[in-house]
Each structure stands twice: as structure tokens, then as C-alpha cells.
């Protein structure tokens, strides 16, 4: 049990170290990373399995009892996140194989990426992400955030094009400010409660003599996690940067990174800051509404696929936050379900965008066309995640939206439901805009290289197609067979809504 809990943190580091020591040997790096990613995938599933079988798992790093050392905790929510990360890591590992072999299409310098630590960075980023998911200590979470952030900084700037540097610059600076707020929040919270362990915080927070102060400190966490999660009006770094890096990096960023912010928001606002829900969660509700709306509107005027998709991340984050804001078991389950669905779908859309760029010649949908005839399978592979994102039933996105909407209606939050539905419609509009332009419209002939490019299943593209298919299958599975996924999300929600389970597990020995 100790091992499986720490493995999602340690194993990526080991893999990162292995790939790092194979710095110049691309073939070996690729091989090691692919095998490693598979093991990592197995670890992700094993953790999920253990958590489902045994309930919340806890290990105390260093064997120091709970509030004193650092607890590593896997409840269902964390386990879900870790598992999805491992799935994404596996998909990206496969996608990277051919997306980097074919250097001329995506980027001239791309085939040099491994030499500059692409795989080590990726793996260490997973380490940070998993650390953030699994830690039961607020300051430790800060550390993992930083691990994740600095690897993402480097990955983002990896090709060093001017645009990329610029995007990275904005991403880095804004995230540094976010980290500062995080640190201040942790400091203030420590001053108020004298502890850092999240379970212990959840207990001690009630002992703070002036509860109003707790609410004030909660604002810090709304801001710092809000920035990471890219909520309104703190999202600006995302559309500035996510469209600049190579697509495999953009995909993992789009899928995973903002979700870490969402995860943390959900974690602290279901475990620690639940003393003044009427205030804090109302603020979150407002934020979620604006986030959904502004995000989706941002996409409406864009033509670069990656930009459209980036703005949609923001809008979708709004839905997840909405689930948190509503704060009912169904709503939280909806948020968790939404996260599961969105990571898969959004990353897949980016991967598809990469293929569109490779096969159609551009990310700008105005310059691409006729793909439905030239690559019908690609069209299907686009439609699955796109329609899912738009919430077309019975794809995964529909269920996600459905839970949140239902929870909203049950709470009689009609206005926010109206916004959510309207945003759903606009999302549909955006996705169909891509479809209309890139797939339906006749090829404008602006990218002439098409004839030379082999099909989807050619030797050169096969590794790009496999992960796309894999992720599409997951999307379809969630859509057509939502029951088990909902069960898990519901279980996660139940744990989140009843923090005492978590607290007792973590502090078990002490209380």
C-alpha cells in the first residue's frame, strides 16, 4: 500500500532520470519512455483499483504521524486524477513517437527535442502533477505545483520560436504571481491554524477564533488556484501560450495542467474552506458563470484551431467550477466526471488538431478544407471529441453537462443553468465552425503539400493515430456506458462532501 501510493510520484521521476541519462540517444529514450509509460499506466490503474477496493489510502512519508510529516493520500478523486494522468501520459508517449519523427511538418527543430530533455521534462511534470494530486499537505502541494510549473515552462519554450518565447513569458510571469499568492495563502493559513496538513487544517480551521479571517484567506486560494485553473478573469495566460508549443505538449497542457488547478480548488473548497459556503461558494459561482461565458465567447471569433480549443478550455473549466460552486453531491460528481471527460476529450482534440495540421497543412481552419473527403476517418476522429465537448448526447460531454445542469436546477440556480446551456450551444457552434471550415469546406488550396502526405495509418502517422483512436474510444465508452464512471465520480463526490472520512483516515492515528 505504501508503494502504490508513492509510485505515481516516484516512478515518473525514475523514468525522468532514465530518459535524462539517455540524453543524446533518441531511440533508446523513445523506447524507455514508451515502456515506462506503459508501466506508469499500470500504476495508475493499480492505484485506482486499490482505492476502489480499500477506500481512501494514506501513507505518512517518513513515517511521521499525520499532521507532522507529509501525508500522501489517495481518495477516489485523487486516484481518478492520477489514473487519467497516466492514460494521458501513455497516449502522449505514443503520439510523440511519430509526431517527432516527422520533423518537416510540425516544426523544423522538433526532432531535436529529445536532445533537449523533452522526455525527462515530460516525466518530471507528471511527477509534479501526481504529487499535487496525492499530497495531503498544503505546502507540499506548493512544491509539486512548482515541479509541474517549471517543467511546463521549459516544455512550453522548447522550440524557442519567438511566439513560443512570448507565450512562455506570459505564462511564466502570471504563474509566478499565482505561486506567490499560493505561498502567502499557505503562510496566512499556517498563522491562523498552526498546521499544514490538509486534514488537520480541516479540523483546526474550526478552532480559529475569527472565522471571518478564514474566509479572507480562502480568497487567496481562489486566486492562486483560479489562475492555475484559468478562471475568469485570471485566465489570460492560457490563450496567450497554449497555442504556441508543439502539439503533443499543447495537448498534455490543455488536458492536464488546468485540471490541477481545478483539482486543488475542489480539494480545498470541499475539505478546508467549507465554513462559510454561502460566501465563498457564491463567489465561485459567479466566477464559474463568467468563466464559461467569456471563454466560449473568446473562441467565437478565432480561426486557429488551437486558439479555439484554448478558449474552450476556459469555458469548460467554468463548468467544473460550477460543479464545485453548487456544492451538492451530484454537482461535485458532475465536476469530477467533467474533469475525467474533459482531459480526455480536450487532449484528443489537440492531438487531432496536430493531425489536421500535418495532413491539411495549417492550424488555421480558413486555410484547410475538404478533409472529410480526403481523410474521412480523421473526420470521425474529430467529430467524436468535438461533439462530446459540445455536449451532444450520449457522448461523455453530455453527461458531464447534464449532471451539472441537473444539480443547478435542483438548487434552483436558474440563471447559472441558463448560462451553462447557452454556453453549451455556443460550444457546439464553435466545434461545428471548425468542422464546417476544415472538413466540409472545399480545400482552398492554400497548403499544397497535401498530395505528398501519407494517410492516417501509414507507418509515419500510425503512432499519431493510435492515441487519438484510444482516447476517442475512451470518450465513447464513457458516453455509452456512463454508469461505472458515474459510480466512481459519485464515490469521489461522496468522499468530498463528507470530509470527515478523509480527515479520519489521514489523522487516524492521532485522534
Amino acid at each position: 500500500m505504501n508503494a502504490i501510493l508513492i509510485a505515481p510520484i516516484v516512478f515518473p521521476l525514475i523514468l525522468g532520470l532514465i530518459t535524462l541519462s539517455l540524453w543524446q540517444n533518441r531511440k533508446m529514450q523513445e523506447l524507455a519512455n514508451t515502456i515506462g509509460s506503459f508501466i506508469y499506466l499500470v500504476i495508475g490503474f493499480l492505484l485506482m483499483k486499490s482505492v476502489l477496493e480499500e477506500g481512501i489510502l494514506v501513507t505518512q512519508a517518513g513515517n511521521w504521524a499525520a499532521p507532522f510529516g507529509i501525508s500522501i493520500v489517495a481518495d477516489t478523486f485523487s486516484a481518478i486524477m492520477v489514473m487519467i494522468t497516466s492514460v494521458m501520459a501513455f497516449a502522449i508517449a505514443l503520439y510523440s513517437i511519430s509526431s517527432m519523427r516527422r520533423s518537416n511538418v510540425i516544426c523544423d527543430m522538433v526532432n531535436k527535442r529529445e536532445q533537449f530533455g523533452y522526455y525527462p521534462l515530460l516525466n518530471m511534470m507528471y511527477m509534479g502533477i501526481n504529487g499535487a494530486f496525492l499530497t495531503g499537505d498544503l505546502f507540499n502541494m506548493y512544491v509539486w505545483f512548482e515541479v509541474m510549473l517549471i517543467s511546463s515552462f521549459i516544455l512550453l519554450s522548447l522550440d524557442g520560436s519567438k511566439l513560443q518565447l512570448e507565450g512562455t513569458f506570459k505564462y511564466v510571469t502570471i504563474n509566478l504571481i499565482s505561486s506567490a499568492f499560493f505561498l502567502m495563502g499557505v503562510g496566512l493559513l499556517y498563522g491562523l491554524t498552526g498546521t499544514l496538513n490538509m486534514a488537520d487544517l480541516a479540523v483546526k480551521i474550526h478552532e480559529v477564533e475569527n472565522q471571518a479571517m478564514v474566509t479572507v484567506v480562502a480568497m487567496f486560494f481562489i486566486i492562486c488556484f483560479g489562475i492555475k485553473a484559468a478562471v475568469f478573469p485570471l485566465f489570460f495566460w492560457l490563450p496567450s501560450s497554449y497555442h504556441t508549443p508543439p502539439i503533443s505538449i499543447a495537448a498534455i497542457f490543455a488536458g492536464m495542467l488546468t485540471k490541477v488547478g481545478v483539482y486543488s480548488l475542489i480539494r480545498v473548497f470541499t475539505l478546508i474552506f467549507i465554513t462559510d459556503i454561502g460566501f465563498t461558494h457564491t463567489i465561485i459561482l459567479w466566477i464559474s458563470g463568467f468563466t464559461m461565458f467569456v471563454g466560449v465567447l473568446g473562441a467565437a471569433s478565432q480561426y486557429d484551431m488551437r486558439r479555439i480549443l484554448s478558449f474552450h478550455i476556459i469555458s469548460q473549466i467554468g463548468y467544473m467550477i460550477l460543479g464545485l460552486a453548487l456544492y451538492t453531491p451530484l454537482a461535485i460528481a458532475g465536476a469530477v466526471f467533467y474533469i475525467m471527460h474533459h482531459i480526455i476529450v480536450k487532449a484528443n482534440l489537440f492531438l487531432v488538431a496536430g493531425l489536421v495540421k500535418r495532413l491539411g497543412g495549417s492550424f488555421d481552419v480558413r486555410n484547410v478544407g475538404g478533409l472529410v473527403n480526403s481523410y474521412p476517418f480523421l473526420a470521425v476522429m474529430f467529430l467524436v471529441p468535438a461533439l462530446s465537448l459540445a455536449g451532444i448526447p450520449p457522448l461523455s460531454g453530455f453527461w458531464s453537462k447534464f449532471f451539472v445542469v441537473k444539480a443547478g436546477l435542483e438548487l434552483q440556480e436558474y440563471f447559472i443553468v441558463f448560462v451553462a446551456l447557452l454556453v453549451g450551444l455556443l460550444t457546439l457552434y464553435s466545434m461545428m465552425k471548425i468542422w464546417n471550415e476544415a472538413f466540409w469546406k472545399p480545400d482552398p488550396g492554400k497548403c499544397t503539400s497535401e498530395k505528398l502526405i501519407p494517410g492516417l495509418f501509414s507507418k509515419k502517422n500510425i503512432f499519431m493515430s493510435i492515441p487519438i483512436i484510444l482516447l476517442a474510444i475512451i470518450t465513447l465508452t464513457i458516453g455509452f456506458y456512463p454508469e461505472p464512471f458515474y459510480q466512481i465520480a459519485d464515490r469521489a463526490a461522496n468522499e468530498l462532501m463528507n470530509p470527515s472520512i478523509y480527515i479520519n483516515k489521514v489523522l487516524g492515528g492521532v485522534q
Binding site: 517518513g62 533537449f116 505546502f139 521549459i154 478573469p233 489570460f236 453527461w399 464546417n436
Partner: protein, 772 residues
């Protein structure tokens, strides 16, 4: 039942592959799917006619009570038979119509996909499962309307249809969920028992409005009707099937299905009657003005949908019987006429009725189908259309309020329809042959069989209405109105209603001739269209894009400092708001006792240094001032019992300053680029932010926690962890995981710096080589 659905979807997926494998026989082969379903459904008529209702349940998503519960009653069976029956005809027709088309296989796929979804809609007992299928029909409709996606118009129309119906669908989803929440179940069969509770609930009105939005958009009711004529960009079989016979009736179906739950209130009946009435009149009137065969048919379809909504709105056994009968009739003749229009288009290359004439001789079988449909359409006995029309007049004239107005509206609508029936079913075939782009040949069996079959069916059923009366119509009425329906009969004797029918026919002929005059003044209608709902749609979309661009330009303007403004605004706003809201300012305590001179001076130096870092004119002086601040921080650490921190801070600060100087060396001097207004605004913002932080620190200092976990570290550092430097013990033992992360960050930074510089330099080399 589930097997049927699954087979349908599988067939849809397989269709393109089947077509690829067997290009010649695919159409015939795939016709078997809907035909099989039709045949599978037929035997169910007998139990249904005996008043039985079949319920089948398949678990799907039990946690949320979303299951594939199917119900077979009169209503669903009627619809299912229409869907599968006409479906079979359409697939067969398409095999001729699209013969040799590049995307024929895909077409079958879409079509079967649609058909199955539609079957799902009509057969579902669970409103959420119904909604799932409902949305699938929207998507398949989108794909079919945009089938000829090379043209801009197709894409436009497809998107429009999707957005209008999709938007309505989302509203409907909310309505359905609300209804489910209020009624305690998502199963219609259970909701029926909850009808009084739902109708009496305070949420009844929102539920009704939301569901009506879904139904009205799908069934093209005013003011959402505009998408339907545009949808005629689709290939004709699609128009025949989706946009007249089946999908557009989904809204009507839903109203009929939920009628027992939602009806009974004034608002329900008035809304449906008024909107249905407006739609039927307007659609019929607008049809007169058209010249394109398919557009004429499209507007009459709008009108027909209006009639059905109107009738459901009236309620009562006559109206509902009329609605159901009209539904069947309409499916038969409108499907037929669309197929005729398609055949004419296929054979002649045009659909403009002004350019068509005398085709009777060239396309005799098509003509047969056309004239049969037109008779039914015009309500001429002994066609089924006559039966339906009689029922409509019966319903309006017997209505308890405003029977005259209602009847006049119905008659007027029917007059228009008769006129259009002449335009479509008669005009192209009689008179002198006009040269068409293509010379018409004898149409193949695939093209004529459908229209003839549907036309004959209209005749047979009209002559013997009992064929459908007991088996389908009455059970349907029972399901919709929860009441005994009116038995269908062809001949009611010489009643005033018969007179109305005759009047309708006469008026129709007159309108036909009048229509030519109307068409000459189309400019007026065009102007009218400029204020119509389609313009609103366009404006909305244009506005959306414009607003989006504006909004994005406003928020995402590219200026980093503006992003910081937002972050700070949120920070200051949220915190200060909370402080005020929670009234915390009173708790601030400031205590300046016990401060030594050197400490105060150090703080002052640091503040001065910070200030001079701001005011510095050169990069180096700013960096140096920053260094002073850093050393100051280190001194504070040292003064206040943190030697480890002081050490670290000193070394780190030095390294940072060195790095900064190395990097900043290229930048000679800060240019003065901010305006005075900006700087003073920023100064105010920063001071506000600084004050906020100070206040927070002071507040937290005034309410310190009673117990801290650090006591544990102090007690156990040596005893349990063998170290006397507690800070170090925390770092390497108590919180070793933090340090693990920390050194990972360090290593990553090393990789990052290397990568950035190395990549950059290799890139430069590449550029240099390029230059050479």
C-alpha cells in the same frame, strides 16, 4: 426493441463499408433494414389496438434513472411505422437518386443513423433517453443538410438547423430535467400519474416554456420556422424524410407524448393554438410565394406542422384525432410530393415551377404519384386527406371558444394548401412542355415506386379509413388525449363541413391563379423577410462573432500588464470586499514597542532600497537596489533567529543578482515609456495591494493559533531524528518529500537554462548557415 435500435446503428456504421464492398446493391440491401423494422413492428398493431401498452426496460444509467425504457402504444407505433416505412421507401429511392454519387455510402449511413435515432425518440419512455435520441436526430439532420457541403449555402443551412434545434434542445433538456425533478421520475409512464402535481407546481410555467422551446424549434414553429426552408439544401430524399415526414414531427410528437402531463391549463392551450395557428397560416401563405418546388413544399410543411400543433393545442377528442390522422396523411403525401420533386429535379435538372410543364408525357408514373398525393393533399374524397380535413373542421367548428375564427383560419390555411398542391402536383405535368436543362427520360423504378406507393396508400387508406382507425389512430388518441377518439369515416353525410371542403377547394383554385399576381410583387415579401426571424438569427450570429471579437480584444489584448491589472483587481477586490463584508478592519492592532534602532533602520533601508529599485533610471542601479533588499531580508532572518535562512538567502541573493546583471547588461537604460497617468494609477494600485497585505498580516498576527505542529519538531528533532538543527531535520527528514520536490525543481531549472541557451544557440547557427 433495443436490438432494433442497435441493429439500426450498426447498419448505419456499416453502410459506407457495405457500399464500398457492393456499390451496386448497397441501396437495395440497406433498404431491408428499415423494411425489416417495419415488418417487425407491424404485428404489434393488433395488441395495441386492443388497448395494450408494451413497456420494455433496459438498464443503462440506473444511478440517475436514465434507462432505455421503451413504450409501444398507439402514438409510438404510428410514428415508428411511419419512420421505418417511409424510411424504407427513402433508402430505396436514394439508391436511384444518388446512384453513382461519390458519397452514396456515407449517405446511407447518415440516413440509417437518423432513422434509428428517430425510432429511439418515438419509442422512448424515459424522457432523458428520448432527449439523447432527439439530439442524435439533430446531429444526423445536420450531417444530411450539409451533405452537399461544398456549397456555402449547404453549410450555412446545416449549421443554422443545428443551432436552432440544438438551442431548443438544450432548453428542452432543462425543461425535461425540471419536469423529472418535480415529478420524481424521468419515465413518462410514471410522470403521467404525476400530471396534477406537475401542472400545479410553481415550476410548471418554466417547464412548459422550456419544453415548448424544444418542440417548437424542432417542429419549425413560428418564430423558429426559418431553418426548415433553408434545410432544403439537403438532397431531396432527406427533405422528404427528415424535413417533412419524420424529424420535424418530433416536436409534434413530443407535445403529443407529453400532452397528458402538461395539458389542461389555459397557457398550454392558448400558446399552442396561437403559435400553431400563426405557423400554419404563415407557412401556407409563404408557400404561395415560392417558385422552387422544394421550397413550396418546405413552407407547406411548416404550415402542416403548425396545423398539428394547433390541433394539439385545441385538445379534445376531435382535435387530437384530427391531429393524428393529419400526421399520417401528411407524411404520406408530403413524402410522396418531395420524392416527386426530387424525381423531376433529377430528370429535368430544375425545380422552378415556372420552367416546368407538360411532364405528364415524359414521366407518367411520377405523374401518377404526384397527382395521387396532390388529391390527398387537397382533401379530395376518397383520399385520406379528405378524412383528415373533415376532422380538422370538425374540431375547430365544435370548439368551445371562438369556433368561427378558428374555423376561418383552418379553411384559409387549407385554401393556400390546395393552391400549392396544384402548383406542385398539377402544374408541372400539364400544359405545354417547356424545355428544361435536362431532357426528361423515363424515370427508373427507384424513383417512381416510392411516390406511387405513398399515393396509392393515401387513396386506399382514405377509402378504407378503418384500416388505420382502430389499429393506430384510436390508440394514439388514447395515448395523447387519454380519451376515446373519433372513429375515422370517409363519409359523414351532407354536413356543413362538406360545404366547407368544397369552399376550400374552390378557394384553393382561386388562390392558385392569384398566386401569380402575388409572385410578381415578391419584393414586398422580401422586405418582410428582412424583419423576419431569420434576420434575427443572422444578426445574432453576426453580433456574436463581433461581440466575441470585441470581448477578446478587450480581455485578451496581449498587454501583459493588463492581465496583471485583472489579477490585482481580483486580489484587492476580493480581499477588501471580504474584509469589509466581514467587518474585520476593527481588529487591526499595531504595536511598535520593543523595536531596536538598528532594526527600524534596516527596515527603512529596505524600504528605501525597494523604492529606489522602482525609481532607478538604469537597470544596474535597480538590480543593485534589489540586491540590497535581498541582503536586508537575509539580515532580518539572521537577526530573528533563522541562521540557515540567512545563509541561504545571502547566497541565493548574490547568485540572482549576478544572473540579473549578466542578463540585464544588454539593456542600457530604462526608457521612460509609461505615461504619467499610468504611473500614478499603478502607484495607487500597488499601494492598495501593499496595504491589503499589511492589513492581512496584522490581522493574522492578532489571532495566532493556539497550538502549532512545530512543537513536535522541537521535541523530536534530536530524540527521534538525531539532529540538533531542527530546520535541517525538517528539511531532510520530517518534510523530506518537500525537499525531494525542491531538488527536482532545481534540476529542472538547470535543464531549462541549458535547453533555452543551447537551443537558442543552435538555432542561431542554423540561421547563420541559412544566410550562407
Amino acid at each position: 426493441m433495443l436490438n432494433m435500435i442497435i441493429i439500426g446503428f450498426l447498419a448505419a456504421i456499416a453502410a459506407p463499408f457495405i457500399h464500398k464492398a457492393l456499390p451496386k446493391f448497397a441501396g437495395w440491401l440497406l433498404t431491408l433494414v428499415p423494411l425489416g423494422i417495419f415488418i417487425y413492428l407491424l404485428p404489434m398493431i393488433s395488441p395495441i389496438s386492443n388497448g395494450e401498452v408494451l413497456l420494455l426496460s433496459y438498464k443503462w444509467f440506473p444511478s440517475l434513472d436514465i434507462n432505455l425504457n421503451f413504450v409501444v402504444d398507439g402514438l409510438s407505433l404510428t410514428f415508428a411505422l411511419i419512420v421505418s416505412g417511409i424510411g424504407a421507401i427513402i433508402v430505396f429511392y436514394a439508391s436511384g437518386y444518388l446512384h453513382g454519387h461519390k458519397k452514396e455510402g456515407r449517405f446511407y449511413g447518415y440516413l440509417l443513423f437518423f432513422m434509428t435515432s428517430m425510432l429511439g425518440v418515438v419509442l422512448s419512455d424515459n424522457i432523458l433517453a428520448l432527449f439523447v435520441f432527439w439530439e442524435l436526430t439533430s446531429i444526423s439532420s445536420y450531417l444530411l443538410i450539409g451533405f452537399n457541403h461544398e456549397t456555402e449555402r449547404s453549410r450555412y443551412a446545416a449549421l443554422q438547423a443545428l443551432l436552432v434545434t440544438g438551442g431548443g434542445g438544450l432548453a428542452m433538456m432543462a425543461g425535461l430535467i425540471l419536469m423529472g425533478v418535480v415529478g420524481g421520475s424521468f419515465n413518462i409512464s410514471e410522470l403521467l400519474n404525476q400530471a396534477p402535481a406537475i401542472v400545479g407546481h410553481s415550476l410548471y410555467l418554466p417547464i412548459l416554456i422550456l419544453i415548448l422551446l424544444g418542440a417548437f424549434t424542432k417542429s419549425a414553429q413560428f418564430p423558429f420556422h426559418f431553418w426548415l426552408p433553408n434545410a432544403m439544401e439537403a438532397p431531396t430524399p432527406v427533405s422528404a424524410y427528415l424535413h417533412s415526414a419524420t424529424m420535424v414531427k418530433a416536436g409534434v410528437f413530443l407535445l403529443a407524448r407529453l400532452n397528458p402531463v402538461l395539458s389542461g391549463t389555459d397557457v398550454y392551450h392558448i400558446t399552442l393554438t396561437v403559435f400553431g395557428g400563426i405557423t400554419m397560416l404563415m407557412g401556407a401563405a409563404m408557400a404561395i410565394g415560392q417558385n422552387d418546388l422544394k421550397r413550396i413544399l418546405a413552407y407547406t410543411t411548416v404550415s402542416a406542422l403548425g396545423i398539428m400543433v394547433f390541433l394539439i393545442g385545441l385538445g379534445g377528442k376531435y382535435a387530437v384525432t384530427a391531429a393524428i390522422t393529419f400526421l399520417v396523411v401528411h407524411s404520406l403525401y408530403k413524402g410522396g410530393l418531395f420524392l416527386v420533386a426530387g424525381a423531376i429535379d433529377h430528370e429535368t435538372g430544375t425545380r422552378d415551377i415556372r420552367k416546368l410543364g407538360g411532364l405528364k408525357a415524359f414521366l407518367p408514373l411520377i405523374f401518377l404519384g404526384a397527382i395521387l398525393a396532390a388529391f390527398s393533399y387537397s382533401g379530395i374524397p376518397p383520399f385520406l386527406g379528405f378524412v383528415a380535413k373533415e376532422l380538422i373542421y370538425e374540431a375547430t367548428s365544435h370548439f368551445h371558444v371562438h369556433p368561427v375564427i378558428l374555423t376561418v383560419a383552418a379553411v384559409l390555411t387549407n385554401m393556400f394548401l390546395v393552391a400549392t398542391a396544384i402548383m406542385v402536383g398539377v402544374k408541372p405535368f400539364f400544359g405545354k412542355y417547356i424545355q428544361t436543362p435536362k431532357h426528361p427520360h423515363h424515370a427508373p423504378v427507384t424513383l417512381w415506386l416510392g411516390p406511387v406507393l405513398l399515393g396509392v396508400l393515401g387513396l386506399v387508406l382514405g377509402a378504407m379509413p378503418s384500416l388505420i382507425s382502430k389499429g393506430l389512430v384510436l390508440p394514439s388518441v388514447a395515448a395523447v388525449a387519454q380519451a376515446e377518439g373519433v372513429k375515422l369515416a370517409l363519409w359523414h353525410g351532407l354536413t356543413p363541413l362538406l360545404l366547407l371542403s368544397l369552399l376550400t377547394l374552390a378557394g384553393g383554385v382561386a388562390f392558385y391563379y392569384l398566386s401569380f399576381a402575388v409572385k410578381k410583387n415578391m419584393a414586398f415579401f422580401d422586405k418582410l423577410a428582412l424583419v423576419g426571424p431569420e434576420e434575427w438569427y443572422k444578426l445574432l450570429l453576426k453580433g456574436l462573432v463581433k461581440f466575441s471579437a470585441r470581448q477578446t480584444a478587450f480581455f485578451q489584448d496581449g498587454y501583459l500588464r493588463h492581465y496583471f491589472y485583472w489579477i490585482l483587481a481580483v486580489f484587492i477586490g476580493l480581499i477588501v470586499f471580504t474584509l469589509f463584508y466581514k467587518d474585520l478592519f476593527g481588529l487591526i492592532r499595531v504595536d511598535f514597542t520593543g523595536i531596536y534602532f538598528h532594526e527600524a533602520l534596516l527596515v527603512i533601508i529596505m524600504l528605501l532600497a525597494a523604492y529606489s529599485a522602482i525609481r532607478a533610471k538604469t537597470v544596474l542601479s535597480s538590480v543593485a537596489a534589489l540586491g540590497v533588499v535581498g541582503y536586508g531580508v537575509a539580515l532580518i532572518f539572521a537577526f530573528f533567529s533563522a541562521p540557515d535562512l540567512a545563509l541561504t538567502q545571502f547566497s541565493i541573493e548574490t547568485l540572482t543578482v549576478i544572473l540579473l546583471v549578466l542578463i540585464a547588461y544588454n539593456v542600457p537604460r530604462f526608457s521612460k515609456i509609461s505615461s504619467r497617468r499610468n504611473t500614478s494609477r499603478d502607484a495607487i494600485i500597488s499601494i492598495a495591494a501593499g496595504l491589503t497585505v499589511t492589513v492581512l498580516v496584522l490581522l493574522v498576527l492578532n489571532m495566532p493559533s493556539e497550538s502549532k505542529i512545530s512543537t513536535f519538531f522541537l521535541e523530536n528533532s534530536y530524540v527521534a531524528a538525531h539532529g540538533r538543527n531542527v530546520v535541517n531535520v525538517i528539511l531532510v527528514d520530517f518534510r523530506g518529500l518537500d525537499t525531494m520536490g525542491e531538488i527536482t525543481v532545481l534540476s529542472l531549472a538547470a535543464i531549462g537554462v541549458y535547453t533555452l541557451l543551447k537551443f537558442r544557440s543552435s538555432r542561431k547557427k542554423v540561421n547563420v548557415e541559412k544566410l550562407k
